[in-house]
Subunit: 141 residues, 4 copies
C-alpha cells in the first residue's frame, strides 16, 4: 500500500500571473492542501488538532524546484509523503504533476515543528502521532 496521499485540484485564474503561468508562491499553498489531505487520510483532521489539542504545525522551512509551468485550468496532482516524523519535527515531501499528462511540474519539501498557541515547541499529541507514524516513510523515532 502506498503511504503517500494524492490530491487533485484545478488551477485558479487568480493563481496565474502576467507570465501566463502559475505564480511561484502558490505551489506552497498547494503543498498545504496536500498536508491537510495527508492528515485526513491518516485518520484525523488537522483543524481538530489545532482546535481541540491546541497544537499547531508551524513551518520551519520550505523549498520547491520548479520544473515546468502550470497553467490556468490545468488539473494538478499533488502526491504528499511524510518523509520524516519525530515527536516535535516532521518533514513532508511533494511531487506535483499535471494530472492529465503525468508531466512533473515541481518537487518540494517542508519541515515543520509542533507548537502551542504561545509559539513554544510542543510534542505532537499521541493519537495523531500514532496515526501519522503508520503512514510515515521512515520508522518513527
Amino acid at each position: 500500500m502506498s503511504r503517500s496521499t494524492e490530491t487533485t485540484l484545478r488551477v485558479r485564474y487568480a493563481e496565474t500571473d502576467q507570465m501566463g503561468v502559475v505564480y511561484y508562491s502558490n505551489y506552497l499553498v498547494w503543498m498545504e492542501i496536500g498536508r491537510t489531505d495527508f492528515c485526513l487520510h491518516s485518520g484525523f483532521r488537522y483543524r481538530d488538532m489545532e482546535a481541540e489539542d491546541g497544537v499547531m504545525i508551524a513551518v520551519a522551512e520550505a523549498r520547491c524546484r520548479y520544473r515546468r509551468p502550470a497553467r490556468y485550468d490545468d488539473r494538478i496532482l499533488i502526491r504528499t509523503s511524510l518523509t520524516s516524523l519525530k515527536r516535535r519535527i516532521l518533514t513532508f515531501s511533494y511531487d506535483i504533476r499535471n494530472a492529465d499528462t503525468g508531466e512533473q511540474l515541481a518537487t518540494g519539501a517542508t519541515v515543520h515543528v509542533a507548537v502551542g498557541a504561545d509559539g513554544a515547541q510542543r510534542s505532537i499529541p499521541s493519537r495523531q502521532f500514532d496515526l501519522l507514524s503508520t503512514r510515515a516513510e521512515a520508522p518513527r523515532e
Copy 2:
C-alpha cells in the same frame, strides 16, 4: 482639511494575472490597506484595537467598480474616506488611481460591523469612536 487618507503602494507581480493586469480581488486587499492607514491617521492602530479591546471590524459588504486596469509596478494611490460612522456600523469609500497619471482605476466601498472575538456585535470602543468621528464625512450619530 481633507478628511480622507492617502496611501500609495506599488503593484506586485503576484497581483497580476494572465490577462496582464491586476486580478480583481486584490483591490479589496488594497482597500484594507487604506483602512489600516485611515485608522493610523485618525490616531490609533487598528491592530491595537483588536489586541487590546478585543473588538474587530468584520466586513459585511464590499463592492468595487473597475474602470481601468492596473499593471505590474504601477504606483497606486488609494484615497480612503469614512462615509458613515455609527456605534456598530461603519462605511468606508475608496478612490483608487494611478498615482503617476492621476487616472481613476476603481472606486469602491465597504460596510463593516464591530464584533467581539465570539463574533457577536459590539460597539466600537469610545476612544477609537471619538478619533474616527473627527475624520468621518458625516456627523456622528
Copy 3:
C-alpha cells in the same frame, strides 16, 4: 432543469486570516471558480475562448454581502447563475453556502464586459454566446 451551476471546494488554510475566518477578498476568487465551472457546464472552456478566440471576460463590477464567516476546512458550495446576458455584457450572481449545513455565507454578483487582447470592447463569440444563452436566467437580447 436548474440553470445554475454548483461548485464545491474546501477552504484552504491560506484563505484564513488572523480573525480565524476566511479573508473577504477570497470570496471573489471563489466566484471566479464558479464562473469557470458555469462555462464548462454550458459546453465550453473559458480558457479556450481566451486562447482561441482572443476574447476575455474582464470584470467591470463586483459586490459581495458577507452573512456568516467561513472557516478553514469547511466545505463550500457555490451556486452560480447567469442573470443577464448581452452581446458585450454579462452578469453572474452567486449564492455561497456551507455545503454541509446549507447555511448561507454570502451572496454576490459580478458584471463583466468582453474585451480583446488590446482591452477594447468586443462581442462574445457566437458559439459561446449561444451556449451561454441556453443557461441564462433572462431571455437573451
Copy 4:
C-alpha cells in the same frame, strides 16, 4: 558600498492566517518585491526588460527558512543580494527582518533562469546584465 538592496513594507491583514501570523507562502511574494527593487536600484525596471526585451526571469528554485513569525502591521525589512550571476542563471538571497527590532524573521534564496515568451532559455540582455554585474556579490562569469 553595500551591494544589497533594502526594501521595507508593512504586513497586510490579508497576509495573516488563523495562526495569527503571516502565512508562509507570502514570504516568497516579499522576495519578489525585493528582486523588483534590486533591479530598480541596479538601474533598470524589471518590467521594461519583460516588455521591451521580451526576456522574463522565471523561477527555477525557491527556499525559505522561517525563524520567527511576522505579524499584521509589522514593518518588514528585506535585504536582497545577487549572490550569483551568469548569462542565463541568477541566484538572489534574502534576509528578512522586523524593521523596528532588527530581529531576523527568515532567510531564503531563489534561483532563476532567463526565458523568452516561448519559455525557451535566453541570455539576460547585455545592458541589464552589465548593470546587475556591478551589484553582484560574486564576479560575473
